[in-house]
Symmetry: none
């Protein structure tokens, strides 16, 4: 598979390792190729290989142990992504693909329109699946205010059913809007898969899935996108790294 665009050397190395990890190329306790070996294989310097591993560590895909080697982290082949900021959501496309099921068109949906704080019930709606390694792991239904929906409907990536690309709707939207996207509200729960999602994911109707609702807001706090996703329970894990607001230092612990 691999990504279409691989601008930099370290990205190429990281992409290849990522897809190899997603497949069954590396057993659980078996170390990945060493830095030296990858230097040879790709004809790059050691720092470049290290830069690639750096991303994989940050994504939680591998664990590196000094003196021993680099090992696959969780092993159960789920799609894992660090999602701690909006940038993470926009970059989601790096190693996954979007395939359009229903292109972006106008429709009437009171529930979605209400959640977008729209004056009437008209919204633009599209649905698509996200694929990793050619297999669907998530189904998403996106709702947009008509004003932006009309403009985004011209984007070729969302034009026809079956179109596959590596974009994110939120990434396209951000380029299009005058005011950039500033915030997202997200809720995560267990739900029963609705018919379209279960069909797209190859699950029985009503199967338990991870449901993620995201509302994106621009700088003024106006909702600009509502995305309702259902994820395959065995192919997706949501991961966040939480930090303390103030970096803890020994000195400032005293009350």
């Amino acid at each position: 598979m691999s990504s279409a665009e691989r601008q930099t050397a370290f990205r190429r190395v990281a992409d290849d390792l990522r897809t190899a990890l997603a497949g069954d190329s590396f057993a659980a306790g078996v170390p990945l190729p060493t830095e030296a070996e990858l230097c040879d294989r790709y004809g790059v310097s050691r720092q470049t290989v290290r830069r690639a591993f750096q991303d994989l560590v940050a994504e939680g895909l591998v664990v590196r142990v000094p003196g021993r080697g680099t090992f696959p982290a969780s092993g159960d082949g789920r799609y894992i992504r660090q999602l701690g900021s909006i940038e993470d959501l926009m970059a989601l496309s790096a190693d996954s693909a979007l395939q359009v099921l229903d292109p972006l068109t106008g429709s009437v949906d009171p529930a979605a329109a209400g959640r977008l704080h729209l004056p009437d019930d008209r919204v633009f709606t599209a649905s698509f699946v996200r694929l990793h390694d050619g297999r669907p792991f998530g189904h998403t239904r996106v709702h947009l205010p008509p004003a932006v929906g009309r403009r985004l409907a011209e984007a070729p990536e969302l034009a026809g059913p079956g179109r596959t690309s590596t974009v994110t709707v939120i990434g396209l939207l951000d380029q299009l809007l005058d005011e950039p996207i500033a915030e997202a509200e997200q809720s995560i729960a267990v739900a029963s898969a609705p018919p379209d999602a279960s069909a797209a994911l190859g699950l029985a109707e009503g199967a338990a899935v991870l449901r993620v609702d995201r509302t994106y807001l621009d700088g003024a706090g106006t909702p600009v996108e509502l995305a309702v996703s259902h994820f395959h329970p065995e192919r997706y894990t949501y991961r966040v790294r939480l930090r303390r607001s103030r970096p803890p230092r020994r000195e400032d612990r005293a009350p």
Copy 2:
């Protein structure tokens, strides 16, 4: 002065920048020192300075913009840095209660010990339910390294089965540790409820639940707590608000 240990050059640079950022040394919109300047000031190579910035970027403290410079990430100062923070987890107790099922005692659990990076298989383990309005919505099993587990076992809140309080284990732990808790890694997925969790939540065994694994790390990156929670699918939703780390625009310099 300064940090007790600064083993590496890049850490020293990063530490200094962090404390400078924590103070008001850098106004919002004013760029930090450039790589070249820090190279001079610390007498290190450019890669070393870059390695320091890399941590600060990962921590969400600064934003780097090619061609322009490096800026504090908190932007307008009135913004709170990062919602979905560890403080939120510690404050979880505000409107929920903790009821002890199995008090904190020593046990042998290779899987948990491995995830805590412990040298052998001994851990301290406790389990409890979380209640809201008197009804259980989550079951949690907590694992601690023996060193801290022994001390925490003396806390009255975790002493006997049936004890109810409004604490969080992580809150108790943070007061007890020499080094404060700095980070948490969290993963969220759909799972089948194990027997103890399904019993505690009043669900059929194997029912689909929301599984949340959290590993808490201290400032040195040492894992200090592993918590595995299972949440009732109809009584719990995980909410996060994501914020964009906004690079300053040309217009909004100068107050």
